[in-house]
Symmetry: C2
DNA sequence: ATTATCTATAGATCTATAGATAATGC
DNA sequence: ATTATCTATAGATCTATAGATAATGC
């Protein structure tokens, strides 16, 4: 049952969307090609017409996830324009929210897959590196600071605090401790 | 070929040591019971005399890894006693070193396995939570700050910055960017 | 006629267990 | 006699592929 060119392009998008969500939610090894294709509404044999391998999909899915995070930050920053420091505060409030903590499938790919990405091949590594660069540059335009070098340094430190807080808050099996981490990180950011 | 009670206890330790290292290095799904037992010098059938399941071992291995991290921090802090702020600086310098970044099998379990631990069952979650609590309390005695609440908050934020920086530095497929992250995090800590 | 998808399966790997083996410890 | 370990394997799952099917697009 062949489909139209457009339908095939849409099918590829659906596979990518499912992968971007399910890899973050379950980890690269927590979901197989067959279940991914099922989630996208196809059978698993068709997968290899769209991607060369599971690792190929992983790289594209990481790229998509990172792009989504950057776009959301963009949107939040735009919504808080005007207020000084408001843009960084908006991004930080989202990133350190319980909602973001609890919806691993839709949030930051570095927090969800970063450690595992470090164990993968060049495709995945390069995709996540591009995303890190992009998000860092976006953050650098939000943090306070005189020189560009100062802002970049602050952006990287802020990025680290955000990612680490989310990883800790998700790992902690105790809601009080988990919230404490998120709030402590929020208080430590240059946002104020 | 039965072994003595003491030999069996030593064998269990060897399994735990191999697991603590290999899980951090390759991820929970990146190493199987058979290869773990081979690394410990046994065949995989014997595994189930020591642990109820792979997940049972995962929980014990996480506990051991977290305990090792805390002990190393303890040692570093003791070595830098006297100098004001020196203890925190010593811990931060180790945590944010390229050596720690490159030896995933021997470092912080939260940075290596935190996101994956969040996807595991109660045993693993509880083990990592105990470790997080323990390390946080240790850090709280090193950071500057007036009240105990202030120091605890600073300790949690510091912990987050350390973990996030290491995850980012390991994910980044570019040594310059990777070092930049580590140095930016180092500069942002209250250690000075 | 071409080709995107589906069915079916090969080949590898993984967790867990059953039964055999051989050394300890009462 | 007991029991820690080993050999062998069951049963499940995973990636990838081969060949069949059926709808598109020249």
């Amino acid at each position: 049952m062949r489909v139209s060119k457009q339908q095939m392009a849409e099918n590829r998008e659906r596979i990518l969307d499912a992968a971007a969500q399910l890899f973050r939610e379950k980890g690269f090894d927590g979901i197989g090609v067959a279940d991914l294709m099922k989630a996208a509404g196809m059978t698993h044999g068709g997968f290899y017409g769209h991607f060369a391998s599971k690792e190929d999909l992983m790289a594209h899915a990481v790229e998509r996830s990172m792009e989504g995070g950057r776009a959301l930050a963009e949107q939040l920053a735009a919504g808080a324009a005007g207020r000084p420091g408001g843009a960084l505060a908006a991004v930080a409030d989202w990133y350190l929210s319980c909602r973001h903590r609890d919806e691993m499938g839709e949030g930051c790919a570095v927090a969800a897959l970063g450690a595992d990405a470090a164990r993968q091949g060049p495709g995945v590594r390069q995709a996540i590196t591009r995303g890190i660069r992009s998000f860092t540059e976006r953050l650098a335009r939000l943090v306070p600071g005189g020189t560009e070098a100062e802002r970049r340094q602050k952006a990287l430190a802020t990025y680290a605090t955000l990612v680490g807080a989310l990883v800790l808050a998700r790992a902690a099996d105790d809601d009080a401790l988990s919230r404490e981490v998120l709030e402590a990180a929020r208080a430590a950011l240059p946002a104020a």
